[in-house]
Each structure stands twice: as C-alpha cells, then as structure tokens.
C-alpha cells in the first residue's frame, strides 16, 4: 500500500513531466470519466442507496445527471477555455501582444462530503482535470459505500499517475493536509474548514471552501400557497434535508403560516403517501450520530410540531417534520439543521424578517417565495448569501452558467462550468514586447523630467 507521501511524489513527478498539459490528454481523461459514470450508473445508485437510502430518482438527478451535464459542458468548451484571452492595451503598448493564459496550478487536493458524495467530489474533479492539474481525491469516509466505489473505479478509468484516491478519517485527512498542495478544494463544515485553512496557510496554498449555513426562506406578499408548498417541500426534504442549499427555516406572517401548513401537509401526502417511512422516495439520515443530533434538536425545541415528528432509530428515519411557533433563540435556530425538520418563525413584517436574517451569518443560499416582484427585489437587495433563488429551491445550483459558492461563513471561491475551470487555473498575464520603438521607451528612462512625464501620462 502506498503511503500518502509516495502518492504525492508520484503525482508531482507526473505533473512535472507535463503530461497533463495537452488538450488531448485532458479530453481523454474527461471522456473516460464520463464512461466511468455511464458504465457504472447502477453501482453508483446502489452505493448511494446503501449510504443514504437515496431514492433512485434523486441519485440519478443530483448525482449522475448533474455530473454528466458538467462533463458535457467541459468537453464542449475545453478548447475555448484553454485559449489565450487577448486584452485591450494602452497607447504605449499598442504594438505588443497582451493576453491572459490559463495554466494549471500543479497538484491539487479535493476533499468531498458525504451528502452528495458523487456530485460534490466529481464536479470539482472535472474542473481540476480540465484545467490540467494532477489531483488527490479524498472521498468522505462517512458515505462508506460510495467511498469504496470511488476508490475502485477511479484508477480503472483515469490515469493512475495523475489522479489518486486517498482514503481515511480525520487522522488521515490531517496527515494529508500537512503536505504541500497547489490548491485545496474543500466541501463540508465550518469547523473543519478552519483546520483546512490553517494547514493551507503554512504553504500559502489557495483554497476554495464550499460550506453551508442556515438558508432562510422568506414568504411574503401575495403567494400561491400550493405552488410554494410544492417547491418548498421538494427542496427541503430532498435527500432528507441533507443539502447545503436546502431551505433551513421559513419566515412568514401568521396568516401565511396558517395557509402554508395544511398545504405542506397535503403536498407531503401527495409526494410520499400517508406512510412516509414506507415510501421509496424518502431518504434516511446518513449515520446514527447525525440522527441523534437531529432528534436532540427536535426534543429541545420549544415550538409546536404540527406535521410529522415520527422517527425510527434503527432505520435512521425522521419523518418530514414542520414546527411552528419557533422563536429566534430556539434550539432549531442554533446551527444549520441539515435534516428533515422545517421550523417556521412567525414574523409579521418583511422588514423585521430581513432584519433577523442580518443577525445571522451569511448562508449559502437565500430564498424568497412571492408573487410580488417588489418583495423579491427587496429581499435580494437587502441580503447577502452565496446564491439567491426566488420561488423555488436548490435548482439554481444546476445552472452551469452561475458561479456556485458561498460568502462569509458559507465559504469563498466558486465553481460549476467555466468557473470550475477558472478555480483550478492560474491566470497568468503574458506580455510580448517587440524590439522596435526603443526611442519611445526613452520617455521612461532617467534623467526624469516633467516633459517626459506628460508624454507618458498621455500614452498610458
């Protein structure tokens, strides 16, 4: 078994041999990655079901198709992404060639989480490969079946010299972080993010952090409660609420709450039937430890459970649960919930709601449901978050044209589509000057004079 340092040395040697530079190589690797997903779709779906009891539909949509989409995007655009980007010049440099060249960073590290263990590991990988880097891939050990599958498949499809999977828990990850990387891409929690950043500081390694936060969902003004309920239920309880961009909590007036709750109840029945635990379309909580954490929140809440509340420890099951009369200092408002519990806080005015969200850390996503565009505009302009979506949830992250990332405590840096390619590239400024016009240069040489200075300001 190779040690971590042996793996790194191998990858660094491969990078220095410049094998990842030609477009052809990167295309081949990306095409192989596509085959890996296509050939093994069933195994992927099974592994995800083992880890999270993920319904096949969710697995295909959020773990297979979204990855395929990114691969298509990269393969279609790789040539243009790799082209030098010519820039505008000033008069003094008109005869020179000035462009920006995207170059690989070197050996990069991608650390994946357990909630979308394929998507959140492979989509960054696509960007890293497209940008010409060698990659150390560290899947989450928490989603064990997917970890096993990735470890088995990656060396079968991708160049073993350039891409390696390193496994393990906290101890192995800490050891891995002591090494020098040219970029670290981390998806996960804030606590671990601090550790990653501290390790990166030792080597001045740039980092991308995709974290989370409590994504608020404001519902104000004229609202079609049924449509809103459909989209809210879908985005909240997808993957049993274990999404970094799931709407965490709802803020609305009492009247809206009264209209919303029965709508939520109805939609839940439409989606999952009357015995939700029996529905094949509802996921489970990833581990007993996480189940216990969520049940702890539910037990400590001072709000009223109006929908759901059922649970089964052996099955790691928690029913989609709605809690009303939740106060600002409730247990459910302490940390990111990351589970199928939806607190509703009753706040009469939109302004007060916005004020409340401002007391919290900036989340990864911000949602507002309203038929009134003035309400949507007000929320957009008076909030800060990684991304923003009105009248729906989660789907904004499926658009490769939008940069996907956080701000403040929800992270920094972004990716998806072209942004992923940029995240793993160095934008090198290149200027090629000629030998002529040395007389023009004389304006800048000492002895300095006011006259030379005015010519110079004109030319630049």
């Amino acid at each position: 078994m190779e040690s971590q340092s042996q793996v790194l040395e191998r990858l660094r040697t491969a990078f220095e041999s410049r094998v990842t530079i030609p477009e052809k190589f990167r295309r081949t690797q990306l095409t192989n990655l596509m085959s890996m997903i296509k050939d093994n779709e069933e195994q992927i779906v099974n592994a995800l079901h083992k880890d999270l009891t993920k319904p096949k539909f969710e697995a295909i949509l959020s773990e297979v198709e979204i990855v395929m989409n990114e691969l298509h995007c990269a393969l279609s655009n790789l040539t243009s992404w790799m082209q030098p980007e010519y820039v505008s010049k000033n008069l003094a440099t008109k005869l020179d060639e000035c462009f920006v060249r995207r170059e690989p960073l070197g050996v990069v590290l991608i650390i994946g989480p357990w909630n979308y263990p394929m998507q959140l590991l492979i989509v960054p990988l696509i960007g890293a490969i497209a940008a010409g880097n060698c990659v150390v891939i560290k899947p989450s050990e928490v989603s064990a079946a997917t970890d096993n599958l990735i470890t088995e498949l990656i060396p079968k499809y991708l160049s073993k010299d350039c891409y390696a999977v390193v496994r393990g828990g906290a101890k192995e990850t800490q050891a891995l972080l002591k090494n020098r990387f040219d970029h670290i891409f981390y998806t996960g929690s804030q606590a671990v993010a601090r550790v990653v950043l501290q390790a990166a500081a030792v080597h001045l390694t740039p980092v991308t952090l995709e974290l989370g936060g409590k994504c608020p969902c404001l519902i104000y003004g004229r609202v079609n409660a049924t449509a809103a309920a459909h989209r809210l239920v879908w985005s909240k309880f997808f993957n049993a609420g274990q999404s970094c961009v799931a709407p965490d909590y709802v803020l609305c007036s009492k009247a809206t709450c009264d209209a919303l709750v029965p709508a939520l109840r109805q939609v839940l029945e439409d989606f999952y039937g009357s015995d939700i635990q029996k529905s094949p379309d509802m996921s489970r909580i990833v581990t007993p430890k996480h189940w216990t954490r969520l049940m702890g929140l539910l037990n400590r809440t001072k709000g009223k459970v109006v929908v759901g509340g059922e649970h089964d420890e052996k099955d790691r099951y928690i029913a989609p649960t709605v809690v009303v009369d939740v106060a600002e200092d409730d247990a459910l408002m302490e940390e990111e919930i990351f589970g199928p519990i939806l607190p509703i806080l009753t706040i009469e005015s939109l302004e007060e709601s916005i004020k409340l969200t401002k007391t919290k850390e900036k989340p990864l996503a911000f949602y507002v449901f309203s038929d009134e565009s003035s309400v949507v505009k007000k929320v957009l302009e008076n909030s800060s978050s990684g991304g923003f979506c009105s009248n729906d949830g989660i789907v904004h992250m499926a658009l490769p044209g939008l940069p996907f990332g956080g701000v403040g405590n929800s992270g920094f840096g972004h990716y998806h589509g072209h942004w992923g390619f940029e995240a793993f590239s160095h934008q090198r400024a290149v200027m090629l000057r000629g030998w002529a016009l040395e007389k023009l240069n004389a304006l800048r040489y000492p002895p300095y004079s006011d006259e030379k200075l005015s010519w110079h300001s004109y030319l630049t």
């Binding site: 539909f57 440099t93 060249r101 500081a201 449509a227 979506c389 904004h396 090198r428 030998w435 300001s457």
Partner: protein, 487 residues
C-alpha cells in the same frame, strides 16, 4: 475597546447604513480621491522624498500617475461592472431570469507596503471602494512620512467612517488581524503572508496576497544585448531595486556575460550619472535594517560594477555581480535592492531547470528575438506574470491581471480584476410561481417516465436569441401540457 477595534466597528456600522451601495456614491468617493492626487502632489512628493529619496517627477511617474489612470478607468466603467451579468439558462428555466449580481463583501482590510506606498496601498483601496465595501487602510509603518500623509489626507477627501486609516506597527497590525473582516488584501513578503492567512483562517476570511519572489531574467545570446540591458537596467535600479517585480537575477550564457556587464554599466552611467549618490533620480534603501540585509548578500560574490555604499545615507550604488553560483548568499532570498547577480548557464535548458528549482516568482522575464525560446520559457515555467523583451511594464496594462502564484501570492487585481476580487459574485435565479405543471416531473412519487423527461428538460442548456426563446417557450408549454396528461 482598542483603537483598532473602534475603527473596524465604525466602518462596519457605516457599511450597514447602506450608503456605499449606490454606484453614484462610490463614484463620488473615487472622484474625491482623484482630487486628492491633483491637489496634494507637493505633500505626497515631499514625504516620498524623505522616505525613499524619489524626486517629485519620480513619485508621480511611479506612484500617482498609475493611480490616477486607474481611478479614471473605474469611474468610466463602474456602472457596467456593477450591473447584473446575464448568463445561459437551461430549458427548464427559459422563462426565468438568471444573472450574476455583483455585491460588496463588507469590511475589507488593506495592508500596504513601503516600496511604492501609494500605488500598493491605494490601488486595492480603489477596488474596495468601487465594489461598495468599507475599507480599513493600514499603511506600512516603514515609510514613516508617507503613512503620516495618508493618515492626514485621506479622511479629508474620502468618507472617514467607511474608509478609516489605521497607522501603527506590528502590535497594531496584530490587533487589527484579531478583528473580523470580509476580505484581507495584503501586499508584502511571504513570511508575513503566512501569518495573515493564519489569522484570516479563524474567521474564514478570504485573502489576496501580493507577495514577491526572485523574478528571473533570461538573456538570449542572440538578442540585441544593448537594448535588452537598457530595459533591464531601468527595471532593476528603479526605486533602488525595491520593486516586487524587479528582475532579481540574470541568467545568460558565459560568452555574453562581459558584454552584459559592459552594457549595464553604460546604462547606469546614462541614467544615474557617474556618481549615482548625487543623482536626484537614484533612490535609497528604505532603512538601515534593509541596508544591512542587502549588504550582507555581497559577501560571497564578485563585484563587477558598483559596490560603493554609505550606511549613514542608506546608499548602495547600482551594483552588478558576476559568475554568481546558485548557492551564493545573494541567491537565497529576494534581493529587493540594487544588486544584479549574473548566473552563467550553458543553455536554455539549464536556465529553465534552475528557475524551476526555486519558488514560483511574481514575474519572469526573457529577452530573445526567437519566439521559440520565448514560448519554451513560458511553457516550461510558472510565474505570476510573464514579460518578454522588457521589464515591469506589464504592470501598467489594467486589462491584465496582476498577481502571483504559489509563494508569490494568491488572487490578482488591477482594473476589473480588483472590482471582481473584492466583490461577491452572487448567482441569482428569479422564478415565478407559475408553470407549476412543468415542475411536476421532478416531484415524487418518482416514475421512470418522469425521470426520462427530467433528464431531457433540466439538463440541457440553451443559448438562443429572444425570438428563439419565445418559440422554445411556446413549444415547452405545449410539451408540458402533453407531459402532464401522460404522467
């Protein structure tokens, strides 16, 4: 509350009033900054003369001219840069609005350096102001007179609550670093860069680090050595070598070493006279500590030109060292002074190998008439920026990103890059609560049929004009109607 805490708290409060949100407000602040430079040139120049022995023309040329150009560029383009940027949609979001909304980050900390104090402290500040942030400005305490001028003048011209100047040394900087910022922009050396990054880690604060390194300069024996040496001499000895992108050392074949030395010597005389010490256009080392540091590097190398020095005046003559070995003292760290070592190498291969042994520098220079040589050098090395056949001037092209890689830094700026770097580019999807039927295919209970449709609709991006969009929308509505019946 400490003085630093107060400044940061006030800046945050001022930011939260929302007054820096409007583009008009930001442009006004930038216009005020412009006035500072046109009205206070004399005070700025006098302070720079005391700190770095630059002439008034030198100060304008190297410091404020670039800033004035940058401010004009921003005033011209800010409205466009700050506007929503529309992006491609997929079939299912055809009737929605999808765009990137540039937003301020909050309170930015700008830590300046001492070598071009105005350029490297104010240029990031321009980006911070333009992006709508509040900014705490911490000038370098090493350039004593300039930092006093900044402390006195900035509050007169720009919003003193939003953009406070906090002066001080290490303890004051450490106190600042304990506070929470939304971005820290640091220009300086990599040792302090690591300290900054570690402090930023506690608050998950993103950083931009403009550091340095040993910027190599390869001179091909077939080039016009006279022109090459003129450009190198200018690049090296401006500001007495205290430039983060100065050509640090020369690599060339032994056969041209003597010629290079002759030419550089000629140019030194032409630019700085026979006695650079009395020439007003030649600078000084910033302080005695750095004087000693640079002088110590001379120990184990041969001086071909210069070497004269005067500690009381922090004067070191423009100096060239010959036959320098990679193990020499002068090759162990960034020189940041007027010593130009020449390392003879037998070939381009050897030069590239030597360069790659070191850390990635902020700039890399190659002088050659042969494009193949230039391309090889560019392709087989990595650096912040790359410039063929000249030194320093890539800095002046605002459309080029200026920044390092590896040990030479993280992030880049100048022009629009500054604006984007100090903004949050927020991805926005604005939908309506209509067309609910189309959403149906993603809702449980899940069927294989729904999955097939979802695969088609959700995951294909489309890029058509308005007419195409309307046609597609009509088609979509019809298809959706059919699909709803079928599911």
């Amino acid at each position: 509350m400490s003085r630093e805490q107060q400044a940061v708290a006030r800046a945050r409060k001022a930011f939260e009033t929302g007054r820096s949100k409007s583009v008009e407000y930001r442009i006004n602040q930038l216009k005020n900054l412009q006035r500072l430079f046109s009205e206070r040139q004399k005070e700025i120049a006098a302070a720079i003369k005391k700190d770095l022995n630059k002439t008034e023309v030198g100060a304008q040329f190297y410091e404020t001219l670039g800033l004035e150009g940058e401010i004009s560029l921003f005033i011209k383009n800010l409205k466009e840069w700050a506007a929503p940027r529309h992006v491609k949609k997929n079939l299912l979001t055809m009737s929605d609005t999808v765009y990137i909304h540039p937003e301020p980050l909050g309170v930015v900390l700008v830590i300046g350096a001492w070598n071009y104090p105005w350029a490297v402290t104010i240029r990031p500040l321009i980006g911070a102001i333009a992006a709508g942030n509040a900014a705490v400005v911490k000038p370098s305490e090493v350039c004593v007179h300039t930092s006093k001028v900044m402390e006195d003048l900035l509050p007169i011209y720009i919003d003193k609550e939003l953009y406070p100047v906090v002066t001080g040394g290490v303890p004051e900087t450490q106190e600042l670093l304990r506070q929470k910022f939304d971005h820290i922009f640091y220009t300086g050396n990599s040792t302090v860069g690591k300290v900054i990054m570690e402090a930023a880690a506690k608050h998950l604060t993103p950083v931009t680090l403009e550091l340095g390194g040993k910027s190599p300069c390869y001179i091909d024996k077939n080039c016009d050595i006279s022109i090459a040496c003129r450009r190198v001499t200018w690049g090296k000895y401006s500001n007495c070598g205290q430039t983060c992108i100065a050509p640090d050392y020369i690599l060339c074949e032994p056969s041209i070493q003597n010629r290079v030395i002759e030419e550089v010597k000629k140019c030194i005389k032409e630019f700085y006279t026979d006695n650079p010490k009395t020439c007003p256009d030649y600078g000084r080392i910033i302080n005695q500590r750095h004087f000693k540091r640079v002088m110590a590097m001379l120990e184990d190398s041969n001086i071909a030109v210069g070497g004269e020095n005067d500690e009381s005046d922090c004067y070191i003559a423009p100096t060239v060292l010959r036959d320098v070995k990679p193990e020499a003292k002068v090759m162990q760290e960034e020189i940041f002074g007027p010593l130009l070592p020449i390392l003879p190498v037998s070939s381009l291969d050897e030069a590239i190998k030597l360069i790659n042994k070191g850390e990635k520098p902020l700039a890399l220079y190659v002088f050659s008439p042969d494009n193949k040589v230039i391309e090889r050098m560019r392709d087989e090395t990595s650096s912040g920026g790359f410039l063929a056949n000249d030194c320093l001037v890539h800095y002046s092209v605002s459309a080029l990103p200026f920044g390092g890689v590896g040990n030479s830094g993280i992030g880049c700026y100048h022009g629009k890059f500054s604006f984007d770097r100090l903004s949050h580019l927020r991805g926005c999807l604005v939908k309506k609560l209509k067309m609910e039927g189309v959403n149906d295919m993603r809702y449980p209970p899940h069927t294989l049929k729904k999955l097939g449709w979802a695969r088609f609709f959700i995951l294909n991006t489309v890029d058509v004009g308005w007419v195409g969009r309307m046609a597609l929308l009509a088609a979509l509505v019809m298809v959706a109607a059919v699909v709803i019946q079928v599911i």
